[in-house]
């Protein structure tokens, strides 16, 4: 009874140990040999190689793995993992490369257990030779270089039969993205004959894509790298009611054709002021970010870039004369940047708002505006009575160049300014009905309409 229990325990322990098996993988399907013998071919020309794909499976517990081959004509091309977890497998690439015209056999031992036997026969019969069109041997790998997704790069090779008898040549690649033209195989090469075929590389994904050309089980490594296609030529379009200071405009970027590429980038505003050593103008910015840059994205098929969910980015022109350059840069290298420049011309002072209030002590005048030349030099006030008659002595000119200059030098808001002027009145201020203001800068002069003095701000009346 005790013995039976011990036997059962031993069996249980065995069932928990690693259980390795090896199978051949052909065209993605597992093929099992009944006698655990796998052939690499009975006529493999000396000096050529035949690669076969095997799968080492572990049906037991996690286990460390040591694999060995007994014959040096067979070798493992792929690295063997240190362990194979329970119910997992590892793929192995095994190469047979005969050095003499003889039969070779190698056992495959895994953790001291022979799992299978590999067999192959080398022959002296010359195989088909493979060369470039200029007759030089095929480099290893035959590199197709960088090819954009959706495009095709081709290389032509020549298959030759150095023997006098016909030679049947099976030729293929390991599949996409490499394809042969013509695709028909096998090809019969007459004695001393040759045939040119084309290998096309058409990547559908990015990155290195190793592959191989198989000629009668000879293996010639192929390599190509898929890269993102370039973006179509972008065109920057600016929408502005007028090209002037203190304007909000839109920027759109259209493509010459639907984009095959996906990605993104930024548009940046570079400002070159017309005024030497001008302070920065923080009014120049993209609205959505409040900065000088705005990111964009592009999806495959887009005919314009996207700024978030919008097809345009709103920007402000600021209040300084100069050149606004919008530079578009893609994140992906190898895409040329593009630029568009608009020129904000120097202009007379712009008045944005005025507020004229009459108080018991005098006349209070506030105005805000901008001088995109930052050169305002004179302010001329003309006061009017209720009959629109200018009050004596007429226009009162105030030289203001120094005061403006001092202010602009301390401001980072471009040419924007607010002006507060108070005029004490010793008579009756109610006699002053309105004021007209003229401002002069290097680009000319600007005159407001008559600004009426009020006693209180506007309130609700119906």
């Amino acid at each position: 009874m005790i013995q039976r229990v011990l036997l059962l325990a031993a069996l249980t322990a065995c069932s928990l140990a690693a259980q390795f098996s090896i199978v051949l993988v052909q065209n993605g399907q597992e093929v099992t040999s009944d006698d655990n013998h796998y052939g690499f071919g009975s006529s493999v020309p000396i000096g050529t190689a035949v690669d076969l794909h095997f799968r080492l499976k572990n049906a037991g517990n996690d286990a460390a793995v040591v694999v060995s081959l007994s014959d040096p004509h067979f070798s493992l091309l792929s690295a063997v993992p240190a362990t194979i977890p329970a119910n997992k497998s590892a793929d192995l690439m095994v190469e047979f490369k005969p050095t003499q015209a003889t039969f070779s056999s190698s056992t495959v031992t895994v953790n001291a257990t022979v799992l299978a036997t590999f067999q192959g026969t080398g022959i002296v019969r010359p195989a088909a030779t493979v060369s470039l069109e200029n007759g030089s041997p095929l480099p290893s790998p035959l590199d197709f270089g960088n090819v954009t997704r959706g495009a095709t790069a081709s290389r032509r090779i020549v298959l030759s039969n150095p023997a006098t008898a016909d030679l049947v040549v099976y030729v293929a690649t390991r599949g996409a993205p490499f394809q042969l033209q013509p695709i028909a195989s096998p090809i019969t090469l007459p004695g001393s004959g040759s045939k040119t075929i084309e290998i096309d590389f058409s990547p559908a994904t990015d990155g290195p894509l190793p592959n191989a050309l198989l000629v009668n089980q000879q293996v010639f490594p192929l390599l190509g790298t898929g890269i993102e296609p370039p973006f179509p030529q972008p065109t920057i379009n600016i929408g502005l009611a007028k090209i002037a200071s203190a304007e909000q405009g839109t920027l759109q970027v259209a493509f010459a054709a639907p984009s095959q590429a996906a990605g993104g980038g930024v548009v940046q505003i570079n400002f070159q002021p017309a005024i030497a050593s001008a302070n920065p103008d923080s009014g120049i910015q993209f609205i959505s970010t409040g900065t000088l840059t705005v990111p964009f994205t592009v999806r495959q098929g887009d005919v314009a870039v996207r700024f978030g969910s919008a097809d345009n980015a709103v920007f402000q022109t600021g209040t300084t004369a100069g050149h606004l350059t919008f530079k578009l840069t893609f994140d992906a290298r190898d895409n040329a940047s593009t630029e568009k420049t608009i020129t904000i011309s120097p202009g007379p002072v712009g008045i944005d708002s005025t507020q004229a209030q009459r108080t018991s002590a005098g006349l209070d005048l506030k105005l805000s505006g901008f001088d995109n030349t930052r050169s305002a030099s004179k302010i001329i006030f003309t006061f009017f009575d209720q009959n629109a008659t200018a009050l004596s002595p007429g226009a009162i000119t105030v030289a203001s160049a120094g005061a403006f200059q001092q202010f602009f030098e301390s401001s980072d808001l471009g040419g924007v300014f607010g002006l507060h002027a108070f005029f004490p009145v010793t008579g009756n201020p109610a006699q002053v009905d309105s004021v007209q203001i003229e401002m002069v800068n290097s680009a000319g002069s600007m005159q407001t309409g008559k600004v009426r003095f009020t006693t209180t701000p506007s309130t609700f009346h119906r």
């Binding site: 200071s245 203190a246 304007e247 909000q248 923080s282 009014g283 910015q285 993209f286 609205i287 959505s288 409040g290 900065t291 709103v314 402000q316 022109t317 600021g318 209040t319 712009g350 944005d352 708002s353 507020q355 005098g362 901008f370 006061f383 009050l391 004596s392 002595p393 009162i396 105030v398 203001s400 120094g402 005061a403 403006f404 001092q406 202010f407 401001s411 808001l413 471009g414 924007v416 300014f417 607010g418 002006l419 507060h420 002027a421 108070f422 005029f423 009145v425 010793t426 008579g427 009756n428 201020p429 006699q431 002053v432 209180t456 701000p457 506007s458 309130t459 609700f460 009346h461 119906r462």
Partner: protein, 270 residues
């Protein structure tokens, strides 16, 4: 003789010092990060500056002061938008107006049905009877010395009540016409604001500005999914329009040409 005296005074004082210059303050507005911030510049050239506060529920500001409502307080702002006083209030609905010099700011606490006039030290409650209002106050504004106008929704009808701020009596009652009269109380999501003599209504698809002669100017909008627009008096001539999921707009309301601009995003505090 009087004219001569005035002229002499003007001549004698018409000089400008550098200290008379400043960066113009357009008003205050809420940025994309929900911070209430100073807005400097001129029309079409806005620059957001330092934050006044976070967690702001509502605000109103004109050139001479304003109010800011947070979850727990009502903040009183001076001409430079600096906080000069605070009052603890419940987190309830409020209608606010910055007033108009010399009239101080006004606010109406909807839950309590109370109209208040702000003062330098304390506020004064206007003794208006709830039955005189008989509806929901949706906006208010000053109307000359010691008077205010309350915009009141009574069912689907909008009424404008002119209230004496000393006695609390309703001195006049009118019903505005146009689409503002028609839609303010009946539209699903609408916001009304009084600015100067204008009524401004925002719905999901337009901003309508009605002048004192009843003429209306419409600015089309496209609010996604029936989002409720919010209108805030941002400055003397400025309204900020917020609609969830859409860029903030600044609307200049003065003269004959009301113009709409985009408010810059948060950017960096400058």
């Amino acid at each position: 003789m009087n004219k001569a005296a005035i002229v002499l005074a003007l001549c004698a004082t018409a000089a400008l010092a550098e200290s008379n210059f400043s960066v113009p303050l357009i008003g205050i507005a809420r940025d994309a990060r929900q911070q209430l911030r100073f807005v400097h510049g001129v029309s079409g050239n806005f620059v957001l500056r330092q934050a006044i506060g976070n967690q702001v529920r509502d605000w109103t500001f004109a050139g001479f002061g304003g109010l800011v409502k947070t979850g727990t307080e009502l903040l009183f702002l001076d001409v430079n938008a600096a906080v000069v006083r605070r009052r603890s209030i419940l987190d309830s609905d409020i209608a606010m107006s910055p007033g108009a010099m010399p009239l101080a700011a006004l606010y109406f606490l909807r839950a309590e049905n109370e109209l208040w006039v702000s003062g330098a030290v304390a506020d004064r409650k206007v003794p208006i009877a709830p039955e005189a209002i008989a509806g929901t106050v949706v906006a208010l504004g000053p109307s000359g010395r010691n008077q205010a106008v309350l915009a009141v929704c009574r069912a689907d009808s909008l009424s404008l009540l002119t209230v004496n701020l000393r006695t609390g009596t309703v001195m006049a009652e009118t019903a505005p016409g146009g689409s503002i009269g028609e839609k303010t109380c009946s539209a699903k999501s609408a916001a009304l604001l009084m600015i100067g003599s204008r009524l401004v209504l925002a719905t999901g698809n337009a901003v309508v500005i009605q002048t004192d002669n009843g003429g209306e100017h419409r600015i089309p909008l496209l609010a996604a999914g029936g989002a409720k627009p919010e209108l805030h008096r941002a400055g003397e001539h400025w309204i900020q329009l917020e609609i969830a999921g859409a860029p903030s707009l600044m609307i200049r309301v003065d003269g004959t040409d009301d113009k709409c601009y985009r408010l810059p995003g948060a950017g960096q505090d400058r």
